[in-house]
Symmetry: C2
Subunit: 437 residues, 2 copies
C-alpha cells in the first residue's frame, strides 16, 4: 500500500471522491455508538452479578477484627478489605486507607486537602501565588480537570512508551518549588496503554523535588486489567512505595486504586496507599470529613472475591470480554497500515487505544465520526486545558459497545481518518502551491 | 426532697461520705459501657437485615429511567432515590442531589468547596482574611470540628427550646459580611432534642445577611427519628427550602440528610437539597470530584423501603427500640428532681438527652463516670473549640448500650452528678468562708 503522501493530486482527488461517497453511505446507516468513555460493557457487569449474593440477610456482618460493618467505626476500613486492595497495588495493608466508591474522589480530595491544609505541615497551596502540576500527555482528562478546577497551572510533559519524559520531569521538579505534583497512570496508561519501565519508576522514586510538598499522584487504575492470560503478554511495573522508601523518599507518593472497573462502576470501593506519615496527614482531615466509608460494601467485596487470587480469576473473565473488542478495533486499524496517516498503540491491558492522526486532523476526524453517529472522546481531551497542540491524538475506548457495534464503529473511524487525511493533504498542497505561486 | 443548696455543711459532709462509699462500690463492679456517641444499637441493625436481600443476583439493575445502576452515569442519583430522600426532607426531588454514604461528608465537602471555589461566584473563602460561622451551642461536635479544621472562627449562639437565639443571629449576620454560615440541627437537635419553632424557621428564611455567600447549613439528621408513634408526640418543623423561596431568598440554605441512622451507619446514602442555582454550583465541582456516587446502594434502598411510607414504618421499629432506652435514662434522672443540681431535656426524638449540671461540674462528672467504667461524650464537646464556658453541659447518648446496661450506666451517672455537686458545694462554701474570714 502506498502512503497517501506519495499520491499525486489526481490520485488524492479520486480517493477523496470515493471516500466521500462511502462516508455519505455510512451516514445513511444511522449509527448511534459510543466509544467515548472507559465504561464497562453490559457483559462485564453481568458476569459480576454473583457479587449481589455475597451478602444477604443471613450473613455474618462482623469483620475479622470483630467490627460490625453495619455500624460506625474502623475509619481506615476493615482489615480484610485493606488487604485485598493492598494486594491489588502490591503494597502492605498497613499502608492502605479504604475510601469511598471510586478513586477519582480520593484524588480530588487529596488535591482539595492540599489546597486548604497543606501537605505534612506545608503552607496550604491556596495561600501560594502559584501552584503547578506536571501532566504527562496524552493523559487522563479527569486528572487535568481536577487540577484546572483548583486553578493549578498545568505543564505538559511528553509521554513515551517507557513513561513520561523523565529528563524533563527531573529538570523541572528539581528547580521549581511551585511544582507540587505530577499525574501518573503507570500501568496500561490512559490513553496509550503504556506501562512505565523499571528505569522510569526508579527515576520517579529518586526525584529530588525543590518543593518538600511535591507528591507523585500514582493512579494505578488498571493494575490488574490485563487483556491476555499469558504472563508474557501481561505488563508489570515496579511497586512505587517500596522504591520510594528504598530511595530514601518514603513520603514522595500517593497511590490510588479502586474496584470500579473490577466489579461495578460506581459500586466499588476505592483506596489510597502511602507512607505512614502521609496516611497520618490524610487521617487528620479524613476524621473530620467522615465517620467512615461504606464498610458493608467492603465486606461484600471480600466475601465475593475471597482474596486477591479470586479477584485475578474474575479479571480473567473481563480480559476475555475485552480482548475481542480490542482485537476488533486493531483489526480495523490494520487497514491504515502503510498509509502514513496514523499510528496507534497495541496495549496488553487497560481500557484504551491511543491513535495519532496526521497533525491538524484529530478534531476533524472526531467531528466526522460524530456526524455519522459514532461518539469518540473529544479531540484535545487527552491534553491539559483540552488543547492538543498538534491536534493529532484521539482516544478510542472499545469497552462499552458490543463487538458487532465496535466493528461498525471502527470501520467508520478508519474511513473518517482516510477522508480527513486526504482532505488535509490536498489543502496543504494547495496552500504550499499558493505560497510558491 | 430538699435542694442540695439548702443543706447544712454537716449534712453535705454526711452525704459526701455516703455517696463516696457508693461510688467506690460502683467502681468495684467493673462496668465498661459507652454512652458517648449517637451509635445505633445492635437490635436497630438487626431489624434492618432485610435490606441485605433487597437486591440479589436475580434483581433487575435498571433504575426507573433505564439507567443501569452498575455503570457510570446519572451523577445526580437515580430518580427514585432522589424522590425517597426528598420525601424525608419534605422537598421536591428536583431539588435533591444524591451523595456518598453519609451526610457529614456532604457538609465537609460543601465547606471545602466554598473555601476553594467560593459560593455562586463569590470570592473563595480561603482568600479572605477572616471567615466566621455562627454555632448554636450546645450543638454537634462534628459540625464544629469541620469549621475549626478550615480555620473558620466560630461564634457561639445560645440555644433555646425554640431554636437558636434569633435576635442575636439576625443582628450578627446583618452587619458582619465575614459571617458566612450557621450550623443548624433543626429537628430533635443534637444534643437537646429541641425542634425549631415555626417562628424560628421563618426568621431564618427572612434573614438578610451582609454576605451574599452566607448560607444556612440545615442538618436535618433526625427528620424522621421519632420516639413515639402518636402524632401529638412527634415534633414537626416547617420546610425550610420553600420558606426561603417564599421569603425571596431561595439560595439561602443547604439542607442535608442521610439514611445512616435509618438503615446502617455508614452503609446508607446521603443527599443535599437546595435551590437550582445552588445545585448548579455544587454540580460544577461534583462533576470534577466524582463520576457518580454508589447507585447500587441507592437502588437497594428503594427496593427495600419501596417508598417513604415504608421508611416511616421501619422507623417506627427504631422508635420502639429507642423509646425504652430514653425512658430508662429519664427514669434514673428523676432521682435528681428537686435537688437543684441538674436539669435535662425530655425529647420526642433524635439520639440524645442534654444534661445541664451545676456550673463547673460537667468535666468532673464525666471524669468520675469514666473512672467507674462509663464513657460519656467529653465535657465541652458540645461547644465550639470544645470549651463549654460554664462547664455544665453533658450529652447523654442512650442508643448504643442495651436497656440493662443503660440502667446501670444511668444510675452511675446520677450518682456521679450527686457526688460532684456535693463536692462543688462544699468547695464553694469553703472558698466563700475563706474570703469572708
Amino acid at each position: 500500500m502506498k502512503a497517501y503522501q506519495e499520491l499525486s493530486r489526481e490520485e488524492l482527488l479520486a480517493l477523496k471522491a470515493e471516500l466521500g461517497q462511502a462516508y455519505e453511505d455510512a451516514k445513511g446507516r444511522g449509527l448511534s455508538l459510543d466509544m467515548s468513555r472507559g465504561k464497562p460493557g453490559e457483559t462485564q457487569l453481568e458476569i459480576g452479578m454473583g457479587f449481589m449474593d455475597a451478602l444477604n440477610s443471613q450473613s455474618g456482618m462482623k469483620a475479622e477484627n470483630g467490627v460490625d460493618v453495619r455500624n460506625y467505626g474502623a475509619p481506615d476500613g476493615i482489615p480484610e478489605a485493606r488487604r485485598l486492595l493492598a494486594d491489588m497495588m502490591g503494597v502492605k495493608p498497613e499502608n492502605v486507607i479504604m475510601c469511598g466508591n471510586g478513586s477519582l474522589n480520593v484524588m480530588y480530595d487529596t488535591i482539595s486537602r492540599s489546597m486548604t491544609q497543606g501537605v505534612l505541615g506545608s503552607t496550604p497551596w491556596c495561600r501560594l501565588d502559584k501552584v503547578k502540576f506536571l501532566c504527562p500527555a496524552p493523559g487522563y482528562d479527569r486528572h487535568f480537570a481536577i487540577t484546572e478546577h483548583f486553578g493549578i497551572e498545568m505543564i505538559t510533559v511528553p509521554m513515551t512508551p517507557e513513561g513520561p519524559d523523565m529528563d524533563m520531569v527531573e529538570r523541572l521538579v528539581s528547580k521549581d518549588p511551585s511544582i507540587k505534583g505530577i499525574w501518573c497512570v503507570p500501568k496500561y496508561s490512559n490513553p496509550q496503554g503504556y506501562s512505565y519501565s523499571d528505569e522510569t519508576v526508579r527515576r520517579f522514586a529518586a526525584l529530588e523535588p525543590a518543593a518538600a510538598d511535591f507528591r507523585i499522584f500514582w493512579d494505578n487504575a488498571y493494575a490488574i486489567h490485563h487483556l491476555y492470560d499469558e504472563e508474557e503478554r501481561q505488563d508489570s511495573i515496579l511497586e512505587i512505595l517500596s522504591e520510594c522508601e528504598r530511595a530514601g523518599h518514603p513520603d514522595l507518593v500517593y497511590e490510588f486504586c479502586s474496584t470500579s472497573k473490577v466489579i461495578f462502576a460506581g459500586g466499588g470501593i476505592g483506596a489510597v496507599a502511602s507512607s505512614q506519615a502521609n496516611l497520618e496527614d490524610i487521617r487528620r482531615s479524613m476524621s473530620i470529613q467522615t465517620i467512615g466509608y461504606d464498610k458493608v460494601n467492603q465486606l461484600r467485596h471480600v466475601r465475593y472475591f475471597k482474596n486477591f487470587d479470586g479477584m485475578k480469576e474474575h479479571m480473567k473473565k473481563h480480559g476475555a470480554l475485552m480482548r475481542p473488542k480490542f482485537e476488533t478495533v486493531l483489526k480495523a486499524l490494520k487497514d491504515l497500515e502503510g498509509l502514513g496517516i496514523g499510528e496507534w498503540t497495541k496495549p496488553n491491558g487497560g481500557y484504551f487505544v491511543s491513535f495519532e492522526a496526521m497533525e491538524g486532523c484529530a478534531k476533524a476526524i472526531v467531528d466526522r465520526c460524530r456526524e455519522a453517529g459514532v461518539t469518540l472522546t473529544g479531540a484535545g481531551a487527552t491534553f491539559p486545558y483540552g488543547k492538543d497542540p498538534k491536534d493529532s491524538n484521539i482516544r478510542i475506548a472499545p469497552s462499552f459497545p458490543t463487538k458487532e457495534e465496535l466493528a461498525m464503529a471502527a470501520d467508520l473511524f478508519v474511513l473518517c481518518v482516510k477522508l480527513v487525511s486526504v482532505e488535509k493533504l490536498l489543502e496543504t498542497r494547495h496552500n504550499s502551491l499558493s505560497k510558491t505561486g
